[in-house]
């Protein structure tokens, strides 16, 4: 099963490589990883998506906790949570496809953020599965470029990941 693991790490050079190094050394996979500073200068928030049995993921969380630069770890998938991913996708659009794609983008509640005579650049936010679904309905031959931010998320309600 897919798990979204969210953590606060020391905002120090090397902290990220300790996390990614752990995954490669122990043979765990990373589907997506995103990291950026928080309102607290000394901390970064890192979110990664991995998969495995619940036993495997429990082991991953234990190993992450063992890293000195990892301050706090939470498996978001264990509770109710909100997850979002941002995608920019550049489509080759000429002739009749332009109208059709405009409609599709609306249905998926995306925005066309850049237009040329031959291209649309679409911005879309949502669960990763929704972004996948959008990609699935586009003729692959017309996709020029896809860039996705990786998933970020928070717990629903008052529960927070903080120190």
């Amino acid at each position: 099963m897919k798990h979204i693991i969210s953590m606060l790490i020391e905002n120090e050079s090397g902290a990220l490589s300790r996390v990614s190094g752990l995954f490669s050394a122990r043979g765990y996979n990373i589907h997506a990883l995103t990291v950026a500073p928080t309102e607290d200068d000394s901390l970064s928030r890192l979110t990664l998506v991995t998969s495995g049995t619940s036993q495997e993921v429990e082991q991953i969380v234990k190993h992450l906790n063992r890293l000195i630069d990892v301050v706090k770890v939470l498996d978001l998938t264990e509770g109710l949570h909100i997850e979002r991913e941002l995608m920019l996708i550049k489509l080759s659009t000429t002739g009749d496809t332009r109208d059709e794609y405009k409609r599709l983008v609306d249905i998926f509640r995306g925005d066309i953020v850049d237009v040329t005579a031959t291209t649309y650049t679409v911005q879309m936010v949502g669960k990763s599965a929704k972004l996948d679904a959008f990609i699935d309905v586009i003729d692959p031959g017309l996709i020029l470029e896809t860039v996705r931010s990786g998933t970020v998320g928070v717990m629903r309600g008052e529960k927070c990941l903080q120190i």
């Binding site: 020391e10 300790r18 190094g21 050394a25 036993q55 429990e58 082991q59 000195i68 990892v70 301050v71």
Partner: protein, 567 residues
Amino acid sequence: MEMTGAQILIHYLEDEGVEHLWGYPGGAVLPIYDALDTDAKNLSHILVRHEQAAVHAADGYARSTGKPGVVLVTSGPGATNAVTGIATAYMDSIPLVCITGQVPTGMIGLDAFQEIDTVGVTRPIVKHNFLVKNVDELASTLKKAFYLATTGRPGPVVIDIPKDVQNAKSTYAFPQEVEMRSYLPITKGHGGQIKKAVEMMLSAKKPVLYTGGGVILGDASDELIELTRKLGFPITQTLMGLGAFPASDNLSVGMLGMHGTYEANLTMHNSDLIIAIGARFDDRVTGNLEKFCPDAKIIHVDIDPASISKNVLVDIPIVGPVKQVLTEMLRVLERTELSMDQAALDDWWSQIEDWRATNCLRYDSTGAKIKPQAAVEAVWKSTDGKAYVSSDVGQHQMFAAQYYPFDKPRRWLNSGGLGTMGFGLPAAMGAQMAFPDETVVCITGEGSIQMNIQELSTCLQYGLSVKIICLNNGFLGMVRQWQEFFYERRYSMSYMDSLPDFVKLAESYGHVGIRIDDPKTLQAQLDEVFSEKYKNRLVFVDIITDQQENVYPMIPAGAGLNEMILV
């Protein structure tokens, strides 16, 4: 007080109470070596002949004393030479602080002379590492390093110090406190879990204690002895755990695992409850996981949550320091109204005694050649079983573990996790430095000893009177054994050709060399080696042993603990 980074380091180490610094100089640590010359008062530096040996020696010091070992090496090749030593300590959770020099901060990343990314190279083999970029942070970083190395599950910590940071000035005061928000070692096991565990222990019919190096690292030998004797349960120890419980006690069924005793492995396999304490279900212990102890419930006590349910799922996990958890178990036992099924335990013991009666460690000692087992037994006799014994890796290591029973912790120094050939001699040096008046033995093979033989020179310089027992079988014996069993006796590259004359070699290093090749004189010659006569000399004993001898019992790869090959 205002001083340079290099001086701060030396003053810090003295204030931390470090006695010995094992190292080797080079360009990127020259300021530190200079400060050692000008500022050190009590700190003694031991100049090794290879950085790997510096780390193993600090490691041997740490294993034998329980105090952290400290190492100083230069950048680039100094650091990479130290890597095997660091990895060895990491795999066995040994507290070490390794200080490496680095090129000046302004040159980092420019492929400068003797630059390597030490923090990057050592990252997967340390508990933590630091690159110190600002001299103002040096003392607090050192404090963190010692704190991390010695608390929780211990391990090696590397501090990389660029040369300009060594030269820069700052004010120094020994930091009294250390706080790290992301590192809070566990100090207590869960009371409820401990109670549940004790109840499960008392209701077991075929229990066994399975204990490992964690008991020694956690200084919990006394508590383990008390608990085991109170319960009257059989106890088996891992290669890393030997000595935590006295081997001479009848409750001990010996070492378990690949070359463990018949009784230990069958007791494990047939048990209904395993109480694992400071052990980590290593593959050399469990054999084939699918066949592992089918009827057993498992209680697992460990300081590291990540060790629990890693290889084998457990029923009652208890995360905490072994010493505290065992003390609490004893307290609960004291108060409980539950009692054991003594009849069931008696039956269990009579079954175990039957297994023990196979006498699985017997060997034929009637031949004209010296059996390696006999050599180790003779060393045990000559030293009254009281020596500090390091080993290298191979058949001789297993013979040492099997035929030199230990009654005390911290006497057996052995690279169990990484299995590093070349560990033995420098580790023995570390123990000898810590205990100058004790007998320290290095049981090695003619293959392994050549991996750090240059340290004979260090031993002469510092008067380290280690007794080297080289079980010379002319083979990379453990490799040969596997080739005999699993590769149809194709002995590819396992014969040791062109061996040096170890007696002459020892003599040329200024030591005593003795050869033993006759079983009839074995004991007498060894008695002399360990007599007053050589008390202050390093003696290299080259014992010519039976080349074809194998280590038994053995559990072949893929087999279960009940599928041992006996002789």
